[in-house]
Subunit: 313 residues, 2 copies
DNA sequence: CTGAAAGCGCTTACAG
DNA sequence: CTGAAAGCGCTTACAG
């Protein structure tokens, strides 16, 4: 029984008698034999692995992305490496290098700020990369992102339509990728010409509270808040109330993401909904496409968003 | 320049001149050379990888676990495979086999129900395994779990002390591992002899609402709810109010986990806090210990819990 | 300090 | 239908 024959049976190549096949299968069962994927990968140049690199574990979309990517990869018989860059460029570099050394067949990455060249470097070497919320101009790479400009405009429009005149924005200190609005409007006009102000905080409930305090200092007549995510919005609501401002009567608050508890806090949160399922499916499909047909230059995928109006604004 | 010499430099083995070293380093830089970890792993029998296998991505502790495991593994220069069994025994089997084939050096697994023998099988073959919330009686394996019995008793005691007499429990349909209480008390006495009733639902906000409806059918005089997690508790609160019951006046509700928004819903949630950081650190340390000193039979690690009393009960 | 040989467990051509 | 040879990119002894 030569290794070659075993290999044929294990890989269902055909070209063996049923008797041989059965003998080999029995032996496999008896010995608990499993093919060594490292050895196989060494020679086929296909490791059967892919990578998912996120920037921040706390991002509510990461979970959906991980779940969906997982399902998609499982169907393809691939195992998934998972790593976080913790929003650190050097760490992201180390992670990418490590995955490259492990011969992953492709990667999904939520990149740290300004790391497109780094990603393009790997994609040019032949590694398919899907960059989330970021453009990578290179072969073997594509981007998937939400249309946050549109979400932003919807939110501002809603605030203006409901009579708000002094809008504050609470952004995130961690460089924002497309899942968090506001980066493009540094001038603070929010594309609406409204009086406006922006502060940056940690993207947490506590950060949201701090952000509201800061905005109130800068702009005592504040009557609306746009928060970069729902936890920040929840923190802002709490702090506003602690300061004696009613929500939504005195200050309207809009979040972003529509996390599960958003409809259950008081007041229930008006928010820009990012459809996590849609997002994750698009990302997984994009990587699949890149792996199946390498070398293509592709247009980025832009996903629609929607404003969910509840009680907070 | 023989491969052997390059190998020495790459692995910092010593035994080469500085000049040689520099030449090799320069060449590595110029060619963008990265050692092929598959080839290395094939021969050293150490792949530089570990696995994290969870049962359910929606579990709030999974995130903390993933983050902490990640940090711990990064420090050790190991990459992490990530997979979910989606609470399916067959799928867990496939995942374990796949990771084994990829020659992981160890695994953290939140096991599906009754899969201890399966885990023990791998650990006996020499794969270190940390089982979360479950006992695995085998060498190379250990368990880490919260002391949910204690949490459970704290909660019931608190309800009884505050005059509740008719307690309902909303458990999870997905077989509960130790992060979710209630499994041990199928008789429904909750170890307290109180009148009581248990229903099982999906561990989500919607599930919690459904659970409350069911309990109210079964037990119209219900005045307290113990929920298997905070989302379920939030759903139960919403449904109770929709039925005209006040919380906490008519019905007291206690959750489990203390997720971030738990303090911000209305009424703020009384809950059994499971310290995610403590948990994740314990798990990572346990696996490290198993990898460093294989073959040991270890006692499970049991982590304390605490009851956080807020407004809902 | 440096290198030639053998081999990790597989698969890819090629021969019978 | 089956197998002997070569080689993937490394590391482990061992020789100079």
């Amino acid at each position: 029984m030569a290794p070659r024959t075993v290999s044929r049976v294990v890989n269902d190549e055909g070209g063996y008698s049923q008797a041989t096949r059965q003998r080999i299968l029995d032996a496999i069962e008896e010995l608990g034999y499993r093919p060594n994927l490292l050895a196989r990968g060494l020679i086929t140049r296909r490791s059967g692995t892919v990578g998912l690199v996120v920037r921040n574990l706390a991002d509510p979309l990461v979970l959906a992305l991980a779940a969906s990517a997982q399902d998609s990869f499982r169907e393809q018989g691939r195992s998934m490496f998972f790593a976080s860059s913790d929003d650190d460029a050097d760490r992201q570099g180390a992670v990418l290098q490590s995955l490259w050394s492990h011969a992953v067949e492709g990667m999904i990455v939520i990149p740290v700020r300004d790391s497109s060249p780094q990603l393009a470097d790997y994609s040019r070497r032949g590694l398919p990369i899907v960059a989330v919320g970021s453009l990578v101009e290179a072969r073997n790479a594509t981007g998937v992102m939400f249309d946050l400009d549109a979400g932003f405009r919807l939110a501002v429009r809603h605030l203006l339509d409901t009579g708000r005149r002094s809008i504050g924005m609470i952004g995130s200190v961690s460089s924002s990728y497309a899942l968090c609005p506001g980066e493009e409007d540094k001038d603070g006009t929010f594309g609406a010409g409204a009086g406006s102000q922006m502060v940056r905080v940690q993207p947490t409930v506590e950060g949201g509270a701090a952000g509201l305090e800061q905005l109130l200092e800068l702009k005592p007549d504040l009557d609306a808040i746009l928060a970069c995510n729902d936890l920040v919005a929840i923190g802002a609501v709490g702090a506003a109330r602690a300061r004696g401002r009613r929500v939504p009567e005195d200050i309207g608050v809009i979040g972003c993401n529509d996390i599960e508890p958003a409809g259950f806090v008081t007041p229930s949160l008006t928010t820009i909904r990012l459809d996590a399922g849609l997002f994750a499916a698009a990302v997984a499909a994009a990587l699949q496409g890149l792996i199946d047909e390498p070398g293509e230059q592709r247009d980025p995928v832009v996903l629609p968003v929607e404003l969910v109006v509840r009680d907070s604004a």
